[in-house]
Symmetry: D2
Subunit: 159 residues, 4 copies
């Protein structure tokens, strides 16, 4: 019996430092569970006002499911301002409780490694990854609450 | 082989007049499809500001699925104000496009028939009904967008 | 010594019925006090969501000044729906406490008398009237809170 | 003839660096003009969501008056995160155009100099200063738009 390969496999994360988690997370280890990945910058207004609080609400709403919510700090501008210590203060002030990884700085340019792997156009970006590791949704800009709830539930129901 | 009865079966609707639909709707005929039932009054502030526009958004978001969205005008107060002609003007002004039934007036009291059958506590009330006709959710008061999206998607995925 | 006439004098109100006031109000009797006049329809979505609650907040914020806040129900469409009894229910449900007059029905057309006198383009309309009876502001559509606060205070300070 | 002293004189600002202004500002030089002083921290959620955008709107709304709007970055926590370079990025991303001073760091504690002089309880704080240099309003926490508009207009009308 043959098994069809997923249309687009989600690239692995490259993270230089983690917050809000005792151990590093990898998509490989999360295979079998759906993942909500919120890429943001702490000084991006649409992230602060919409995407990041939405992600915190999703983290709380689906805490009794096997969804894994992950934040990814994809700094591609103002690098001197959005340092790890600044991110820690931001996370504290905004009472964020989901695991957050700092995207590894790019070798020869402003774009960090994971952001480049996914071809993200900016922040906020929402990536939803199915249990089989394929990309279910890749959305740039503010995402509608009802649509996010529906897409996550569809991934949860898909075994 | 035995089949387990649904925990709580959704009572049938009793409607005296329909808007936005060429033919009357019944839950019996909708068996096999999930249903979102939004009970409201056109002069209920929390309906106007939250529940009714949320229902319109759900109607549009899930239009390519087999979800059936239904509004139910459950007038239990200010009967002289919330007449059918007033409801028609309200529907027109608020650009509502989902089917809306007027709950049949109660025989000996202010509570209309369907509202009484469901034991609704007031408006807005959101009732979600599974494909098998059982009640998935019965919520009084404003309902969170993300939760509504997730619950509808869960019903859609349940065959 | 000569006195300059006001640029545009506010026409008198024509009201067929009053709510929330023991006695009818007239601009003539209010001369010497600034007036905030909010023209609305109970089924106008931008009134319900913005203009009417803004007027209630202004009524409460300036209650210790001599500003007179007045609502005017200028029904120019859906006359069969927006009846006096329907308005009373609307006022009750939305907990409105400022005086509201029902604009006198027009003789030969849908536009009521006061609305026609002022040349209002629709609802909501905000009219601000100075102590000397002249029009300070005539705005159609949603009005910014900060601007309304500033204009009212400017009228209050103008003796 | 005697002149009554203002009830509470606004203390002078102590600023280590200015943004959005070619020259430093002092309350002494602004005597005769009303001043709106918005004390904030770039990582304070209630500042980012409410107080700081409100201040930008006030700056634009009253640009044809002689009101002077001033932002004051009163860092009293997370000093390593809210550096001048981080503030510059924040100002750029949020498109702030009003003059902003960085409150001079305190000698022996986390509270900066101007914040201590005014006895501010936290951020955001709104201080309104009359033409005569006296304090008209000192408010901690989110301030209502309509009230801010009214208070500013009252100061503008007071000669």
């Amino acid at each position: 019996m043959t098994e069809q390969a997923p249309a687009v496999a989600a690239p692995e994360l490259s993270v230089s430092q983690w917050l809000n988690t005792p151990e590093p997370l990898t998509l490989a280890a999360l295979r079998g569970r759906p993942v909500l990945l919120h890429a943001f910058q702490m000084l991006c207004p649409a992230c602060v006002s919409h995407g990041t609080p939405q992600t915190e609400r999703a983290h709380r709403m689906f805490r009794n499911t096997d969804l894994q919510v992950i934040g990814l700090h994809t700094v591609f501008e103002h690098h001197a301002a959005m340092t790890p210590v600044a991110l820690e203060a931001f996370v504290h002030e905004n009472k964020l409780t989901f695991p957050i990884g700092i995207d590894t700085a790019g070798g020869d340019g402003p774009i960090p490694v994971t952001m480049a792997r996914y071809g993200m156009r900016g922040t906020p970006t929402l990536i939803l990854i199915r249990r089989d590791g394929s990309i279910h949704h890749h959305g740039f800009g503010p995402q509608d609450d009802m649509a996010v709830g529906a897409m996550v539930a569809a991934m949860l129901a898909d075994f």
